[in-house]
């Protein structure tokens, strides 16, 4: 049944856990649409036949709807629409809530290519390797205009916004190769901004990432950006430390102790519940950390002053990702190890 409907509707293959949920709702919606349209259409045709004009001077009786008709005309469509909404919103909330154990991949769009970077170090252009049956979270940003990551076979899509991180997650179910398309118009080569997801068996993926780490030296030019700057060998977090040193972040943020300095300490900051000067409580996730680099005065942690300069335009998307990854690595149980990487 699923297969018949999928082919009838020209839907791509279902290669993620969402694909089934989304398609089932799709089938339900399209069935309701078809049945109700058919009912309306057949009623109209029946009326047209039965009440066709029989002679030129025909008059007609005055007919007005009953209260029952009015109630039904409102409540029946409302009921169906709300059912669609309830299912759709439930699935959407699931789609917007990555599980904590999800593997992270940083995605950066630029005119007109996709770059993927793994916290463990390897990175690539155009091809995203992910393991099957493990949740993967994409942390997406753009270096220039808005792009959008679309993987039809997974039924997921998320815009890539310059200066911000957005996130989406999926669990791929079938090893194979699937197309990535850009779905936000971004200029002359928009229709050629394609990429590919390679879904590998989990063991094969672990093997692959180890191999990538060994081969990093020969691949280190891959993340070079417009400044000609080259990702140093090693993990994204190690590179993040170097960027932080160069940008002077560590003059105000402690990374070896939880003691506050001019700014809050970075140790254990990631995923911490923090209080802002305006009284709100938020969780320090990737989006918040990136925002704090790009627009530091928007959400200031309670007890600190608005001193931090704006790094918009000074940090590339990849560098911001590296710093976030560095902050994520700073957990009190692992601090020594991370800082140990400093030259």
């Amino acid at each position: 049944m699923n297969e018949i409907m999928r082919r009838l509707l020209f839907l791509p293959e279902q290669a993620s856990t969402f694909a089934h949920d989304v398609d089932n709702l799709h089938y339900f919606v399209i069935t309701v649409t078809m049945v109700s349209s058919l009912a309306v259409g057949l009623t109209a045709i029946a009326f047209f036949w039965k009440y066709r004009r029989r002679h030129e001077n025909q008059a007609t009786p005055f007919v007005a709807p009953t209260a029952l008709f009015e109630v039904l005309a409102i409540s029946v469509p409302l009921f169906f629409f709300l059912v669609w909404f309830a299912i759709g919103f439930r699935d959407f909330v699931k789609l917007s809530s990555p599980p904590p154990e999800a593997m992270d991949v940083y995605v950066q769009g630029k005119q007109w290519m996709w770059k993927f970077a793994y916290p463990e170090g390897p990175n690539s252009i155009g091809v995203l390797h992910v393991p099957a049956n493990r949740p993967v979270r994409l942390l997406i940003t753009s270096r220039d205009v808005i792009h959008s990551v679309f993987i039809p076979a997974f039924r997921v899509k998320m815009d890539a916004l310059p200066g911000r991180y957005t996130e989406i997650w999926f669990t791929a179910t079938k090893p194979g190769r699937y197309q990535i398309l850009c779905t936000e118009y971004c200029g002359a080569q928009h229709s050629k901004m394609w990429g590919e997801v390679v879904v590998m068996a989990p063991e094969a993926f672990d093997e692959w990432i180890k191999e990538q780490q060994r081969g990093l030296v020969s691949r280190q030019d891959v993340l070079a950006d417009e400044t000609g700057q080259v990702t140093p060998q090693g993990s994204l977090a190690q590179w993040g430390l170097q960027v932080a040193v160069r940008q002077g972040c560590l003059r105000c943020h402690n990374v070896d102790t939880k003691e506050p300095a001019t700014g809050p300490s970075w140790v254990d900051l990631y995923q911490q519940q923090i209080k802002l000067t305006d009284g709100r409580e938020i969780v320090a996730d990737e989006a918040y950390l990136t925002e704090s680099m790009m627009e530091p005065t928007v959400k200031v942690v309670a007890g600190y002053q608005e001193l931090m300069p704006n790094y918009q335009g000074k940090l590339s998307g990849a560098e911001a990702a590296a710093i976030v990854e560095f902050i994520k690595s700073l957990r009190s149980d692992r601090t020594v190890q991370a800082v140990g990487g400093e030259e």
């Binding site: 020209f10 839907l11 791509p12 949920d21 989304v22 709702l25 799709h26 919606v29 399209i30 649409t33 109700s36 349209s37 309306v40 109209a44 009326f47 047209f48 009440y51 066709r52 004009r53 029989r54 030129e56 001077n57 025909q58 008059a59 007609t60 007919v63 709807p65 008709f69 005309a73 409102i74 629409f81 669609w84 909404f85 759709g88 919103f89 699935d91 959407f92 909330v93 789609l95 809530s97 205009v145 808005i146 959008s148 679309f150 039924r155 899509k157 998320m158 916004l161 310059p162 197309q179 398309l181 779905t183 936000e184 118009y185 200029g187 002359a188 928009h190 229709s191 050629k192 918009q312």
Partner: protein, 553 residues
């Protein structure tokens, strides 16, 4: 000085063309270009929007021909991107928005209210000149500046593009004023110029629809004006409103843009709904089923339409709560539309339906509105939109509503009111043939596009993967059929203008107030202030003029 008006006393056969009408009250070009007569201004608008429809249609055909093959076909990538920008901007700002309100609203609103003219005739003419000035500036900017941003102008692409978009933004800004002026004029006219007997709930439903439309035009258009100015300022002077590299927020633009552009959909479709309410009564010769429900649902759509814009931002990183709230509100638009559909079908019940070209367009309209509307609700179903957002499914959906429903409404209005506006009939057989071709052509063009969207083809693609080829060929074939239908209409209507059979005052036997004046109407519409003693959609008794023939029911 009041004289009751009835539909009695006009000979049905051998009608003569009135010697004096608004058409020959002054024959110089000057008398047309400086006219304050709402009917002449309506014709000025008609000429302008038909030129826009032609231009937009030509660009659409270039797009469809380019997409005939997966690789480059007839134009280059940059030209293609300019083509869809031109197509979108012309069709939306120069055709769709003014098409029904400024042409048929201008012509019939005062007559339907029993008035001599709109409340502010000079403003009315001004708004046409403002529209022409804005359109000229926009077109000039598009052609010389080569804007390639799409009609949505998403930042920071639009503010950093090397093409010159400033004149385009200013053109859109100026056209907006024309829209506001027309809307305000109509609101004041409806409030102040209703003749004795035309109470609020005896206004023709077309007037209700135009009233709801005008409210949206007056309230929403200023936001568009503001937004286009900000984009132009950022592009020209480098202010950082929307570009994050200059400290701006690109999503702020999307909120501002859709705050206008979502209600703008209702600016386009509400008048079409009003036309259908009028025409369906005349062709079914039947009172409208649920007058108040139809009238109030127009206002409901206008109101709720202001709070649905966020459903364009489901994949822009908007919070899940916002997405849910906007989705739920969007569902209400679907409910109001469903109410209208049920009431139109109900109108056919116990009617006396004549199968004419306007009725064919009603059938087309209902089909496109039901499918376009249901797919709209489906798109607002948050998780489904994640797959469909920015794919051809969205393109097909809004073309079903904006091209399907709105153009069906426009063509229904053009055929239904043609005898009133020009005093002559069009050939019914050719009308039915063209209507059939157009309904078929629309379906053949856009149903494959729904499936393309399902398959995952993104919009605004110059080249596409091989697997989308077959459906694109089908879509292009359908578009050719459609173009053919339009050419037929253009030919027979042009011929009918001069050689059509003289229509007489009321060839449809309609009870709408506008059929109480001669065809074409005299400049003053009515000799004296009319008094309406019946509603505009009442068909309970035998139409007087036909009753004279003497058949019993």
């Amino acid at each position: 000085m009041t004289a009751p008006i009835t539909t009695a006393g006009v000979p049905p056969a051998g009608a003569v063309f009135p010697k004096k009408s608004y058409l020959n009250d002054g024959t110089t070009i000057r008398s047309w270009l400086l006219t304050h007569d709402h009917k002449r201004i309506a014709l000025l608008y008609l000429v302008a929007v038909l030129i826009a429809l032609f231009l937009g249609g030509v660009f659409a055909m270039v797009i469809r021909l380019e997409l005939l093959t997966p690789g480059p076909t007839i134009v280059e990538a940059l030209t293609y991107n300019r083509m869809f920008t031109l197509h979108g901007l012309i069709m939306i700002f120069m055709f769709m928005i003014p098409a029904i309100p400024a042409v048929f609203g201008n012509f019939f609103l005062p007559i339907m209210l029993g008035a001599k003219d709109v409340a502010f005739p000079k403003w009315n003419l001004t708004s046409w000149y403002v529209y022409i000035a804005g359109s000229t500036l926009m077109l000039w900017g598009l052609i010389t500046g080569g804007a390639d941003t799409g009609w949505t102008f998403y930042t920071p692409y639009s503010t950093t593009t090397t093409t010159n978009i400033t004149p385009v933004m200013l053109g859109v800004f100026i056209i907006g004023f024309s829209s506001i002026l027309t809307g305000l004029n109509f609101i004041v006219t409806i409030h102040t110029l209703r003749a004795p007997g035309v109470t609020w709930f005896r206004m023709p439903l077309f007037v209700w629809a135009v009233y709801a439309t005008s409210i949206i035009q007056v309230l929403a258009t200023p936001v568009l004006g503001l937004t286009t100015l900000l984009v132009a300022a950022e592009h020209t002077f480098g202010f950082g409103f929307f570009d994050p590299a200059r400290g701006g927020d690109p999503i702020l633009f999307q909120h501002l843009f859709w705050f206008y552009s979502h209600p703008a959909v209702y600016i386009m479709v509400l008048p079409a709904m009003g036309v259908i309410s009028e025409v369906i009564c005349a062709v079914a010769r039947k009172n409208i089923f649920g007058y108040k429900m139809i009238a109030m649902s127009s206002l409901g759509i206008a109101f709720v339409g202001f709070f649905a814009w966020g459903h364009h931002l489901f994949t822009s990183g908007q919070s899940a709560f916002d997405a849910g709230a906007f989705a739920a509100i969007s569902m209400l638009v679907g409910v109001f539309t469903a109410i209208k559909v049920f009431n139109w079908v109900g109108t056919l019940y116990k009617g006396a339906i004549a199968f004419t070209a306007p009725f064919a367009y009603i059938c087309g309209f209902l089909f496109f509105l039901v499918f376009g509307g249901m797919t709209g609700v489906a798109l607002a179903t948050v998780s489904l939109d994640v797959h469909w957002q920015d794919t051809y499914f969205v393109v097909a959906h809004f073309h079903f509503i904006m091209v399907g429903a709105v153009i069906m409404g426009f063509l229904a209005a053009l055929h239904y009111w043609f005898p009133k506006m020009f005093g002559r009939k069009y050939p019914e057989n050719w009308g039915l043939l063209a209507a059939g071709l157009i309904v078929l052509g629309f379906n053949a063009t856009f149903i494959p596009q729904f499936l393309l969207g399902n398959a995952g083809m993104p919009r605004r693609y110059y080249e596409y993967p091989e697997r989308f080829a077959a459906l694109n060929v089908a879509s292009t074939a359908g578009a050719s059929l459609l173009a053919f239908g339009f050419i037929i209409i253009a030919i027979y209507l042009a011929i009918s203008l001069k050689y059509g059979e003289v229509a007489g005052r009321n060839p449809w036997g309609s009870r709408g107030y506008e059929w109480d004046v001669p065809s074409p109407p005299p400049t003053e519409n009515f000799d004296a202030v009319p008094v309406f003693t019946r509603g505009p959609h009442e068909y309970q008794d035998v139409p007087e003029e036909l009753a004279k023939v003497g058949h019993a029911i």
